[in-house]
Symmetry: C2
Subunit: 204 residues, 2 copies
């Protein structure tokens, strides 16, 4: 094991990023070559340092971890991506895997374990946290059609139907119809509960 893994660390919480950098540096075969606090910064750093593995927080200002991963996939195909997250929602995992992410774990893992996982994804293997995977499977695919999801998203901040209709270029009746069917599919009493459920499952 003479090979050294060059790591990029991106997380908006300085406390965690710094602490993590220090801990990972204790491992002989890992070296943190760059740190970033935002999505765009992470991309810039990746271009500049071409790391072997990028450890990305899911929620960062600017662009979230999955978006960064997508861009990275295109620009630096050799760079493996490992996502860490505080509040894992099923849909995110699905999107992340679709973006070519190699690992997906909650922040409840230990640093020791994270170091192992960095080696794992660097070796070309995949790893997703079993519990998150189980959630994603039990949540299943979104039953919503494209328009239903679109309208539900526009309804997310509590806007009245008239405004949604205008933004989506639809008749009010149509908007109500989509909201209603979305709510039925999700088993919600009304559209607001539907928005909440869809968010929890990562479908919006």
């Amino acid at each position: 094991m003479t090979e050294v893994v060059r790591v990029l660390l991106a997380d908006d919480e300085h406390l965690i990023r710094g602490a993590l950098a220090a801990l990972l540096s204790l491992e002989d075969d890992l070296v943190v070559v760059a740190e970033a606090a935002t999505g765009p910064e992470a991309l810039a750093m990746a271009r500049a340092h071409a790391p072997d593995v990028a450890v990305l927080d899911l929620q960062m200002p600017g662009a979230d971890g999955v978006k960064v991963a997508t861009s990275l996939r295109a620009e630096l195909p050799g760079c493996r991506v490992l996502i860490v997250t505080s509040h894992g929602r099923p849909g995110h995992l699905k999107r992340a895997l679709a973006a070519g992410v190699r690992g997906f774990v909650p922040k409840t893992v230990s640093a020791q374990r994270l170091a192992e996982l960095i080696r794992t994804v660097h070796a070309g293997n995949r790893y997703v946290d079993p519990e998150l995977a189980a959630d994603a499977i039990s949540a299943g695919d979104s039953p919503l059609t494209a328009r239903e999801a679109e309208v539900l998203e526009l309804a997310a901040d509590g806007a009245p139907v008239a405004e949604i209709a205008e933004r989506a270029a639809l008749a009010e009746g149509t908007v109500r119809n989509y909201l209603s069917s979305a709510a039925t599919k999700l088993g919600a009493e009304n559209r607001h509960a539907a928005v909440r459920l869809a968010r929890e499952r990562g479908w919006v």
Copy 2:
């Protein structure tokens, strides 16, 4: 400075807690005597080890940082509390200060800075992050009356008015009235937008 500060660390994210414990241990005058992943666990650990300073995450399973701080205040008056948080909302700061918390900072600070702050609060001084303080001041006090806030909270998960009325033991008309006046005070179009705004400002 021969005195050693005994620290309790509570955060549900193992990654951060562990990393933090390691970093703080590098400081000669700080020693982490206990760690916890949940609110109740933090309380139990505090009782067992009687730390000088408790570093608490705001959002933990079981009981949040402020609730733990309140209990701690009663049981271990000598233990100073420092709250760290990822997403600082104005209302939380206010609640925290009311609970006798001595420090309140976002997780974007560096570990170095955190170590300084632990010494600061241990010395009996207070510290709140300037930016969070500014937010709290600009957000001001909640304009909602007790009933308005209560009803708005019951409406938070999208429940229909009839259900809220039953839970609050009020007539439906009354509930609608409170929701309406709350929405007006918050400058919201409807109650759902009102819930969102009140959450953002930490008023629910």
